[in-house]
Amino acid sequence: MARSGFPRVRKEHVGDGARRRALRVAISTALAVSGAACGGQNDRSSGDGHADKSIVFVGWGAPEERSVIADVIALFEQSTPGVHVTYTQVPGLGYDYLNKLRLMIVGGRAPDVFYVPDGAFGELVRTGALLDLEARIASTGIVDLDAMWPSAIDRYRWNGRRLHEGNLYALPKDIGPTAMFYDADRFRERGVPLPDPDVPMTWDEARVMWASLSEPTARVRRYGTTGYPFDVAVWATGGEVLSPDRRTWAMVNPTAEGAVQWCADLALRDGVAPLPSRIEGGGGRELFEARLAATHIDGRWMVPRFRKLGFDWDVAPIPMPDREHESIVWSGSVGLAVSANTRYPDEAFALVAWLAGPEGQTRLTRTGLQLPNQRALATTDVFLQPGERPAHARVFERAAWGSRPSPVTETANAFWFDVLSIFLDEVWRGRRTAASLFPELAPRVDAALRENNPEL
């Protein structure tokens, strides 16, 4: 992983006035060129000679993000006269947002620009709801794809048959690699050394550490960890969740079965993680917040929430099977997409480019929620935020290099993953072993894969 080959940009450089002016000129030129080409039949001329175009932008998020987004939009409007952006923030989590977005699209009232979580990108792009951005990226030159994490970009590609390949239909707003959050106070109380922020510990080392932090028989049970994501365990041991052609489920083999069983045994055999019946609502996160679990694997987006916690915490790399395996983690991302039916594709694209570009990313990163899609920015204080938790924010930046999108992003319809998760519960609850269940489960998962993804 040749990380050092990429230029590092200092904070003051990113916000540099000359660069901002250059970007404005680039966007204005791009809009002028593309507007002339399109004829501008939807434009209404305002008094100052500029077209008056209104773009609807819909996303979700916490209330405190609203002002940051408003700030970024205001800057965009200043740099692109004649374009007005109306931002609507759907409250709550992504699930509610997606339901609303789907209904808006189905009802023919899709917003011009909207967030598209990477897990839902496939289903939306397959239905033709998203505008192909590839030509505009090439012709306008306002998006520097080389400055972004490749893994963040590729999850928004579609070639009409397969995801992660072909043209870009969204640009990443962020990338959210996962790391191991740990309750440093709990470590100190139990006299357990803090994890190394640079070198991932091995699974064996981690199990010993988690056991030292667990009290499985106490009246109030405490755990060393809230669990380990099974897909990461499979990847880390060299396995895959789906076959390369994505037509079959690829976990019927001793490697993947062993990896999944290892995850299950953390609760079933070792007692260092809770049984699934003890994980409710917010998942393991609530156990970590309540100090009932000393470590918890989650994404960067949890940072603002955890900053409100009343104990000392930090992050460390996710443990790997052994020192020989490369570090690999799962990362989430939210894309910025343009509706295929927008009246103002060029202006909508310009907004997306602005939000995904250095200007937008500098401001959005200040929320603490995200690792910026701009790699250079991830090593500056804009992201690292010294003085704020986590003390070792660089763990996320390193994790991004070895991160992969969730397996659900590999197919347009992810119902097969629902099927898999439902039956995997038998393993988590100790009713079946992975080795006995998987051969029996394979036809069901494969049927769900093929039935719902005929293009494959």
């Binding site: 189905v106 709801a129 003890r278 609502g281 009932l292 719902n452």
Partner: protein
């Protein structure tokens, strides 16, 4: 002269009934016809539907594991219908006799019926929480070690939701029963009492038959409501864990609005409509044996 006035009155009559008829046509019959057509297509909403004949119905009966699982779950929830009716009848009988604070009691029992299901779900989620839920805290204080995770154990989640459903619907059912109890002829009860009938025999042979049309009404509406149960499961568990609390209606929603398989979801909806029709028809046929007009 008369004929012309009749014609004019007839026109007025048509004008008055036009809005509801048009409303039913536009918002009920047309969508039904559309969904029947869509059930024979592959339709993702954004691209035109593809005619695939009976494939969706074939998939429903042959391939889809979840149809069977969610249908069985839905049938399980039907346990709540007799339980809910029995509980409501018992409470109504008590309230019928209460004279002091009658209004207060009736209001208290009716409150859940006017609450939003989301508010109710929040309360019940807290009651059922495994670690610091009201129920488990109470059980723990009584010495029960390791009380169960009510909403997170596949075997417990459905009974837990049935109990919650009985509580949620109790108020409405009680009010309907209270109205019915006031129509039970007093002379019949008095005659039975004079003939020496015990309280139980008066209830079983006079009160219960007298309110049987109400019981039938509640049985039919509760059964239809249970077969179409969606909101309670959606807000409480989203069908989990492992689809063990998912109803058929929830599966239709997930198929149609999460996975954009509107053709298949339409076929499922028609299967559900058929099931509701058959069950309701069966209830009407059986009603001849126990419902007194």
């Amino acid at each position: 002269m008369h004929a012309r006035r009749f014609e004019r009155e007839g026109l007025w009559a048509y004008a008055f009934i036009a809005p509801p008829v048009l409303g039913a046509f536009v918002f009920a019959f047309l969508p039904m016809a559309a969904s029947l057509f869509l059930s024979f297509t592959r339709y993702d909403v954004l691209t035109p539907p593809d005619w695939i004949g009976l494939d969706n119905y074939r998939r429903l009966f042959a391939d889809d594991f979840f149809v069977g699982r969610t249908a069985l779950n839905t049938v399980f929830y039907l346990i709540g219908v007799p339980l809910g009716i029995a509980a409501a009848f018992a409470v109504a009988l008590l309230l019928h006799r209460v004279t002091a604070l009658r209004g207060l009691f009736r209001t208290v029992y009716f409150i859940p019926s006017v609450c939003s299901i989301v508010a109710i779900a929040l309360v019940w989620k807290w009651i059922y929480r495994a670690d610091w839920g009201l129920l488990n805290m109470t059980l723990a204080s009584l010495g029960v070690r390791d009380p169960p995770a009510w909403l997170n154990e596949p075997i417990l989640v459905k009974p837990s939701l049935v109990f919650m459903g009985v509580w949620t619907n109790l108020g409405f059912n009680v009010v309907v029963y209270l109205a019915a109890l006031q129509t039970v002829p007093r002379f019949l009860l008095e005659a039975a009492e004079l003939d020496g009938a015990s309280a139980w025999r008066r209830f079983w042979h006079v009160t219960f038959p007298a309110v049987s049309p109400t019981t039938f009404f509640l049985a039919v509406t509760s059964t239809i409501g249970t077969l179409q149960n969606f909101d309670q499961v959606y807000v409480m568990t989203r069908g989990g864990p492992t689809y063990s609390s998912a109803t058929f209606m929830l599966y239709i929603y997930v198929t149609g609005f999460q996975y954009f398989q509107m053709g298949y979801a339409s076929a499922m909806a028609w299967l559900l409509a058929l099931a509701v029709l058959v069950v309701t028809r069966a209830q009407f046929v059986l009603a001849a044996r126990w419902v007194h007009e």
